[in-house]
Amino acid sequence: MNMKTRTTWLTYVVTIILALLFIFPIFWITLSSFKSGSEMFRYPPTFFPEKFTLDNYRIAFEKGNFGRYFWNSTVVAVLSTILTVIINTMAGYAFAKYDFKGSKALFIFFISTLMLPLEVLMIPIFHVVKFFGMYNSFAGLIIPPAATPTGVFLLRQYFLTVPTELMESARVDGASETRIFFHIMLPIAKPAMSVLAIFSFMWRWNDFMWPLLVIRDVDKYTVQLALANFSGQYSVDWNSLIAMSVVSVIPVLIIFLLFQKQFVQGMVTSGMKD
């Protein structure tokens, strides 16, 4: 047991050191958000705010209807995430568990949509968005980005680890394909679906390109669109940008904390031990 305690000890030390390294920049920027405009870029730098102030937050919130933007982002991110999880799980399952004609080519096609620098294609994408009547509507922020190659890929790789025997024995019992998917596979895929939910919420919340492309009216702005406006032609309004960025991470963090419990316990209960 001595060996085991020593390993545990080592694990803690390593984890804590790495965690400190990772959190330091975040900690620093968060502390900076409570510094006055004159202290923020002072040299030599101060670590803790000399005079703690909430001015940056107050001013940033006055610079736009942020309550509205947070609501918009939440609606878009939640709905899009639900859609993403549903359709990507479907596709990932199909690619992992069925040998259908064209499956390889289609999968490569899906992945290859990741490889294009989309900003160069913004004008044609704009046309398509308008064609489907999604211009200046939340539908344009929810539906097109909901199909994510990463999500399909993630679920496919996950389903690859699920034994095909499970499907076959269900078929022998006379279960339909739909039933197998909904009643056997979906519960097993819960951990991967939780991971995708975490990712998808973050992608949609932090997305800038789609809102820029789709949205015209200010009352439909998302948080990221509003945040970007703190960068002017000559200078960046760091005071407001840093403060508002600190706030805007919170919803993503909450989603992470809510769902991370899901993805770690999944396998234990799924009857995967064979």
Binding site: T11, V14, L18, F22, I23, P25, I26, W28, P45, M90, A91, A94, F95, Y98, D99, F100, K104, L106, F107, I108, I111, S112, T113, M115, P117, L118, E119, V120, L121, I123, I125, V128, I143, P144, A147, V152, L154, Q157, Y158, L160, T161, T164, E168, R171, F181, V195, I198, N206, L227, S231, W238, I242, V249, F256, L257, Q260, F263, V264, M267, M272
Partner: protein, 298 residues
Amino acid sequence: MKRKKNRGVTSLEMKLFPYFLILPNLFIFTAFIAVPALFGAYFSLHNWSGINEPVFIGLQNYVRAFHDMKFWRSFGKTLIYVGISLPFIMGIPLFLANLMIKEIRAKGMFRAIFYWPSMVSYIIAGISFKFMFGDNTGIINFLLDLFGKSKIGWLTQGRTAMFVVILATIWARTGFYMVTYISGLQSIPVSYYEAAEVDGATPLQGFFKITLPLLKPTTFLVLILSFIDLFKAYGLVLALTGGGPGTATKFVVQYIYEAAFDGKREMGYASALSMILLVVMAVFTLLQFKVNKGGEIE
């Protein structure tokens, strides 16, 4: 564990079901990406500023791209960046993921800490790293100065700037891949480890004999995703160095965007460069698929 073909029982339902499953994604990808990409391919054969009428010029944009040394130099820099970053981006998250599934206290908090940088926007990641590595405003140089060492021009020299960019990349992306790995690790049945422990295997042996082979689908996923992700690196680099000093950290996507949106706004040329980029990445990905058999467990 290998996927088997169903023997005999090929009902119509079984044939059509997978198509039904992929239909929503297929539709969106086709409409919102493939169709615009076809337009991109079409524009790549034209002289087009985005606002004027496209003028057909055949393959001239591709010929020009072939001779564009600046483009290939940025391509080369991208390869160096990808080549150095990739092992770290694959390795560090794997290491952390293994720590994070152990029985330690406050796991949730530690996971959140490692994931946190992935949630931060690039412009904030950029300013955070400038707070640390800025030549005259950064804390690292401040500390060096304090202890009587000479300052280092972190972001004013090509090599050190590349180093900082890679460091920032690792910092910003580790959390994402760590979470991906954790989900993969969870699918390895605990009974395997228990059996190995009974057989007297050390944890390290367990890692190489059980974890790595069974984690292959996830490792493959991380390999492909991080490769594409790194190859397309743009936002973070722009916020941190702007591609500088000079052009030392100007990677290929930034070069393409500058062709499209700066200067003479050569959308046609930028489209051609995008197509080249697509082909290069697609070839690499296909090769990986062949070599790794789609990341299936053997």
